[in-house]
């Protein structure tokens, strides 16, 4: 493990650029049954920044995202070839338990999916199954910190025992982010985290993502060019299962190398 990257230390953007990538993909091919969904994807994703995946629907963004925390394992017909390295270590190696991997690679889905439990129990879910708290006080502390980080604490502090499903869509999505943060992940995957939300809730989530970038490696799928431009430092463009181009967001949006990228971001196909 790369010991220079510990979640506690604060680093600035200029430093991250020189650091070793947090996640690396090497010749990743993914098949659903006989159908190939990803072709030879090679990609380096830096720590402590937001990387966004853009591309038309069905081009394999979600599939690639799910390779990183091995969520594809839960789909019977899905087969992954190639290597995904987290801190230089292959997550598909035989000795890696996907259950433990997923504790350090959190995931937020398109539709907010809080469990049918209280707000407190939602956030405490991960710490409980991973035994992160040795006593109830510690657990409450984890819950509070996570909710604060997700910017939800002031709104729910006085109703922690109400069902999480009773919150508004935007609040639910922040609750789910708090739930993911509670297990102290290093990487947070977000699959179109705002596409089910209204503009105001979207703005709040974007702010939150911007805050979280200081402590986590965030990888986000988005369909909104504007959102990718606003919150991400790096952008990868996928097309028909291939990674077409990746680089600093500014460069991708202002001066793309590939014609297809150019066409996509100018809205010539969607």
């Amino acid at each position: 493990m790369d010991t220079s990257v510990s979640p506690a230390t604060q680093t600035t953007d200029t430093q991250t650029a020189q650091q070793a990538p947090k996640v690396q993909a090497r010749k990743v091919n993914v098949f659903y049954g006989n159908k190939q969904a990803l072709f030879d994807v090679n990609l380096d994703i830096p720590d402590r920044s937001v990387t966004s995946f853009i591309g038309p629907s069905g081009c394999g963004k979600s599939t690639f995202l799910r390779c990183i925390n091995r969520m594809n394992d839960t789909i019977d017909i899905c087969r992954v070839e190639g290597d995904i390295l987290l801190d230089g270590k292959d997550v598909y190696a035989r000795d890696v338990d996907p259950v433990i991997l997923r504790a350090s690679v959190g995931m937020v889905f398109q539709k907010p999916n809080p469990f049918p439990k209280s707000i407190f129990d939602n956030v405490a879910y991960g710490p409980r199954i991973h035994g992160l708290a040795s006593n109830p006080e510690e657990l409450s502390e984890i819950v509070e910190t996570s909710l604060r980080r997700a910017g939800l604490w002031t709104e729910v502090a006085d109703r922690l025992d109400e069902p999480g499903t009773g919150l508004s869509g935007g609040q639910q999505q922040r609750l789910v982010i708090a739930r993911a943060i509670a297990v102290r992940p290093e990487v947070i995957l977000m699959d179109e985290p705002c596409s089910a939300l209204d503009p105001i809730a979207t703005a709040r989530i974007e702010e939150l993502i911007d805050d979280l970038r200081n402590n986590y490696c965030i990888i986000m799928v988005t369909h909104s060019m504007a959102q990718a431009a606003r919150v991400s430092q790096h952008t990868a463009f996928f097309h028909l299962g291939k990674l077409v181009e990746a680089g600093p967001t500014e460069q991708i949006f202002t001066n793309p190398n590939d014609k297809r990228t150019q066409d996509y971001i100018t809205g010539r196909f969607g």
Binding site: R102, A103, N113, F115, Y125, T165, V183
Partner: protein, 453 residues
């Protein structure tokens, strides 16, 4: 009846044609589709006449009867009620070609009056039906036009039909409950309510002759309810865990191919007639339990609460598993994904997320299984016997409420003896219990629902 159908069809086409005609060359300017105008006309032509016919069918006889009764000579009207009743019955029989048990001049007279009145009333009704049909037809036809809102009127009638149908369901239930209540009240006027509810001895044979001994008839229902609950309890001990675990296996662990095979097999269990379960219990499980009990030094009989409960449990496994499986399947995949993404194992996900989310539905499934078990009769008759023992020992024969109701009502009995009436009382108490069960279960389910969505 057939005539009404013909009228209806004619009216439909006529209304439709007229609506189309009223729109002239621009059918789209009609307020409602022409079909609605047709339906409207058909409804007006047939419905009022139909209602009149139905009313006549229901109450015509009653009116006729009252009318004749009033016109009877004073000396007959002065007779006791049963004899007047008998007289009327004979008069009817004579009038409509049945056989009367006696004849007399007065009877002949009444019968003649009966027959003629019936004939005139039939004529009047048929005339009225024809008038109503024509009247309704003309009235509705007059209203159909380009701007007439036939659609809204037709929908109002459909709404009415829906209300009437649901009212029928509710009224039938009410009627059943009321008849249960009145018969039970008759029973409770003979037998002390407290003795019935808390009496410990059940032996419903009442003395037919005063000199018979040992047939006092005691109606303590406690042994029956105890037997019912004992057997239901044993059945649920078997069915709840087995059914639930197989549901969890089917919906969470089994491969789709396995599931396609196993689920129908489980559901076949639900299709086995209960009699078959009954003799399975009597011929296989019962003796097996007896031998097993004797082997460890306990005494047991072939008919026992245990064998009935076990077999009943097997019978209701598919209820629990199939319903729970549906409920568990309905839990959104997003919740499972959320849990897996947190690093939960499959077992943790099932225990902490899927199961709680499905709990209200699972409770519903369990309660349905319980009421099924309480109402089950055939297995108990065969496997647990009919002797009303008050015991908690599952190796002894017991009997249940439903079994007793059957035995009480299937004998050659005067219908208003305490013995048969007690069946209604048992039915009433059973009804109250299952009603209570349902109310409680709804409460529980609602509570969880509030907490979970």
């Amino acid at each position: 009846m057939a005539a009404l159908v013909v009228v209806m069809l004619l009216a439909w086409f006529n209304g439709r044609t007229k609506a189309v005609a009223s729109a002239g060359a621009h059918p789209s300017t009609l307020h409602s589709l022409p079909g609605y105008s047709g339906t409207y006309l058909a409804i007006w032509s047939v419905l009022p006449a139909f209602i009149l016919l139905a009313l006549f069918g229901l109450f015509g006889d009653l009116l006729l009867n009252l009318q004749i009764r009033h016109s009877l000579p004073a000396d007959i009207r002065a007779l006791p009620a049963e004899q007047v009743e008998l007289f009327m019955r004979n008069a009817r029989a004579l009038a409509f070609g049945g056989t009367a048990s006696e004849t007399s001049a007065a009877l002949q007279e009444a019968a003649r009056a009966y027959a003629s009145l019936s004939r005139t009333s039939n004529f009047v009704v048929i005339g009225a039906v024809i008038l109503l049909t024509i009247g309704g037809f003309l009235f509705a036809r007059g209203r159909i036009g380009k701007n007439f809102r036939a659609r809204n009127h037709v929908e109002a009638v459909i709404f009415g039909v829906l209300v009437v149908c649901s009212a029928i369901a509710i009224l039938t239930t009410l009627g059943i409950v009321l008849s249960l209540l009145t018969e039970s009240l008759r029973f409770f006027s003979e037998i002390n309510t407290l003795d019935f509810l808390f009496g410990l001895k059940w032996s419903p044979q009442t003395a037919l002759r005063a000199d018979q001994v040992g047939q006092s008839g005691s109606f303590g229902a406690v042994p029956l309810f105890a037997g019912t609950f004992l057997i239901t309890f044993i059945a649920m001990v078997v069915a709840a865990p087995v059914g639930l675990y197989s549901a969890i296996y089917l919906s969470e662990y089994a491969k789709p191919a396995t599931r396609r095979i196993v689920k129908p097999i489980l559901e076949i269990l639900a299709g086995v007639p209960t009699v078959v379960y009954g003799f399975f219990a009597l011929l296989t499980i019962g003796p097996f339990i007896r031998h097993a009990a004797e082997a460890v030094g306990l005494s047991a009989q072939t008919q026992s609460a245990l064998s009935a409960g076990l077999v009943m449990g097997i019978m209701i496994i598919p209820f629990v598993s199939s319903l729970s499986d549906d409920v568990i399947n309905a839990v959104p995949q997003a919740l499972r994904d959320g849990s897996y993404a947190m690093g939960a194992t499959q077992a943790e996900t099932v225990r902490n997320v899927v199961f709680p989310a499905a709990l209200p539905g699972i409770m519903g499934a369990l309660l349905l299984a319980i009421s099924r078990a309480i109402g089950e009769t055939m297995i108990v008759v065969m496997a647990a016997g009919q002797s009303a023992n008050l015991t908690a020992n599952p190796l002894e024969p017991v009997t249940t409420v439903t079994v007793q109701i059957v035995t009480l009502l299937t004998g050659d009995q005067e219908f208003d003896s305490a013995k048969t009436l007690s069946a209604f009382a048992l039915g009433l108490v059973l009804f109250i219990i299952t009603l209570g069960l349902n109310i409680i279960s709804l409460r529980v389910v609602r509570k969880y629902r509030e907490r979970y969505d």
